[in-house]
């Protein structure tokens, strides 16, 4: 089976869907001729032509608005927002229009748009190339919010997203594009040594709304998504704790049973995410767990998150949750 990094896997998912479904079209800033600043659409314009894979003007609000119009009128658009930090000019189109179209028209109209957008830190990108804005979108009814953490899931979830009749915001943790960053910026291993880098060339799908148990364990549950899956895994490996690691993969709709089953078993839980803490998606998980698993809990649920500050340039590694911070939270959960 071919080995792919996350960029290859995303490109392969787009290619499969462009081939299978003539209504799929791919566009965004620098997406066409150049193939995207992260190269996720490289070669697609020359293969499928400029009417299916094309460059747009530099205007995120416009990109999403035309995607909605195309989606309303029979196409299945996959626009790219070059960095999720730049998604906000499109916020009105996404949250007021795309998310509410089906509801406001009593089910008459909808737009099957999949918005791909790189997110997250760890690339020395400072305030405006590092954000993890998933919670703005999980807070908006009507949107699916997806964030894969490995090549196999990236392709399978992207295909499911494109096939979904509901709009999807598909976050790609850019720190993971070329290797499973595990918290050590000095050494990012390549994807090729990872089992999840084995990605079929052809069509397959990974269901939306299903979390993955990355590592089974009995003592504590660690719930996370995106880049932090790998940092948490390394932290658990270092700690020797028998932790169960859950990769949510889809944040909305949330796979609550997988989390509650695990926490009922372990009685302890730590939630980890890169985004700032206050009103981060972790808060929702903690609230759901106290409601559903209250009588199973042996310790307060821990949260390891980015701090409630903008994402700084010079202090990137103090800002992003580290293995040490995750381990400390896991040990606290066990000690309580």
């Amino acid at each position: 089976m071919p080995k792919m990094n996350m960029i290859h896997a995303v490109r392969s998912g787009l290619e499969v869907m462009l081939e299978r479904d003539p209504s799929v079209c791919v566009f965004g800033e620098d997406v066409g001729y150049f193939g995207g600043v992260f190269r996720a659409t490289q070669g697609l314009q020359s293969k499928f032509g400029p009417r299916r894979v094309f460059d747009t003007p530099l205007a995120e609000g416009g990109i999403i608005a035309i995607a909605i119009g195309m989606g309303i009128n029979g196409l299945r658009p996959v626009p790219e927002i070059q960095f999720s930090d730049y998604i906000f000019p499109a916020f009105d189109q996404i949250t007021n229009e795309l998310a509410k179209l089906r509801y406001r028209s009593g089910g008459e109209w909808s737009a099957p748009v999949t918005i791909r957008t790189p997110c997250g830190g760890g690339i020395r990108g400072g305030l405006f190339h590092s954000q993890s804005p998933e919670a703005y979108f999980t807070h908006t009814p009507g949107l699916c919010v997806v964030m894969p953490s490995n090549p196999h899931d990236a392709k399978g979830l992207l295909i499911s997203s494109i096939e979904s009749d509901d709009p999807v915001v598909f976050f790609e943790p850019k720190r993971l594009y070329r290797g499973p960053f595990d918290g050590n910026p000095e050494h990012v291993p390549p994807w090729r040594d990872q089992p999840t880098a084995e990605v079929p060339d052809g069509y397959y799908s990974t269901p939306l709304g299903k979390a993955a148990i990355v590592r089974g364990g009995e003592e504590v549950t660690v719930v996370t998504w995106g880049t932090m899956v790998h940092v948490a895994r390394a932290a658990i490996d270092e700690s020797g704790v028998d932790a169960e690691l859950i990769d949510l993969r889809t944040l909305a709709p949330l796979d609550l049973p997988t989390i509650t089953t695990s926490v009922e078993k372990t009685g302890r839980c730590v939630v980890v995410h890169e985004a700032p803490r206050t009103c981060g998606f972790g808060a929702e998980i903690v609230a759901l767990l106290q409601q559903h698993c209250f009588w199973s809990l042996e310790a307060p649920i821990g949260r390891v998150t980015g701090w409630d500050t903008p994402f700084p340039h010079a202090q990137e590694w103090q800002y992003m949750p580290s293995r040490e911070r995750i381990n400390r939270a896991v040990r606290s959960a066990l000690a309580a």
């Binding site: 800033e29 620098d30 009417r51 530099l58 020395r124 405006f128 010079a314």
Partner: protein
Amino acid sequence: MDGCMTNYSPLVGTARSSLRSAETDLKDPLPLVLHVPTAPHRPGDSPRFEPFPDQPGDLPKPDTLSPFDLLHNHAIGMIRVLGADGAAAGPWDPQLSPQQLRSGLEMMMRARCLDVRMIGMQRQGRLSFYLSSKGEEAVAVAGAMPYSTRDILFPSYRQPGTLLVRGMPLLAMMCHSISNRHDNVKGRQMPLHYSWKAGNVVSISSPVGTQLPQAVGAAMAFACRGERSVAAAWIGDGTSSQGDFHHAINFASVFLPPCILHVVNNQWAISTHCQQATGGTAFALRAEAYSLPGLRVDGNDFLAVFAVEQWAIERARRGGGPTLIELVTYRREAHSTSDDPTQYRPADEGNGWPGGDPIDRLKIHLIQRGEWSEEAHQSLDAALDQEVVASLAHAESFGSLASGLGHSPSTMFDDVYTNLPDHLRNQLREMQIETAKDEPGNSILPFVGKDRRAAG
């Protein structure tokens, strides 16, 4: 649509049209396909540029309170002063003294030296990132020199020359780009995202175009106070697609505050050529639709840029309101150090640019006037390079990617709000406790041992 209405059922209906037009009735139909424009040149093509539309002297210089429609030809043509022979001609010649011209030349050369050295630094891993502004020095320098220090400027990230003009010391600029402990923005931003309040230059952010309508607001504040000061902002050709461009020019046309909006048309927005960004690449002409004057200028012609800015500033100070200026130039280098332009444009495309190089053109002009020499130029260039190299060494002594940037992590929590709120105070404490326990022997501050990791 009467037919549609009468046939409409309140429960189930289908749209019906009374119009009988069918495709066969259309007169001379063109093929109906999705039009997807492309760039004029791609790798492998031989680049060919049209010559500039006007010669120096072709366009008159109207009074600065002229009605906007008197400037139609200025919006579709091109204001120029320096001819191919290096001589200045026409009513737009700002008649600067040799000393002013030499100081402009020096500023452009300093900006170029800085650019070359910073790109080199990035390649050596001593900067996280950089964006070259090579070839656009006249936009940054002549574009800023005519402003008074009480005017407020909102530059984009590709004009460090503007910061030099506004008095930001080289050392401070470097400390910022390195992100070390003497960075006046405290290591928060990527390189080139300057802020220089002492020079009335507003903090630069990465989201493009956001500053343009903000400049309109700043100008409205001047107008509210009856102050004859000007707010100016610069964006690129690609950014003119953003809603913020349209917000800016529309609000400017409604409230007529003393603001000057610039589109630096350097042809390329990363890989996207300006012909792919808009159906009408005369960006200055957009002003007319808003009843504002638009001026299109050769952005590599120091004298023309200076004169156009002077004109717009005078108009604004006299109470004549906003001007849109398009500076036609060429992005000589990659978009950034993360970009490889040979993937999407011919490597030699810039060699055919009809605007040439702004430094060479001003140099030739000064030499022709007997006010400069090749030798003086070379020795100034060497002196500036020494100045830049010395500043760099000095800047790195305050922290570098190799030796550590020298910030206390606790400063991360400053400036989120005016005062540190309780929840951030708690998070700061949490971070200090964690770090202290994880690295025994370290005092809680200043986390020197961890700073090394920022180099990754």
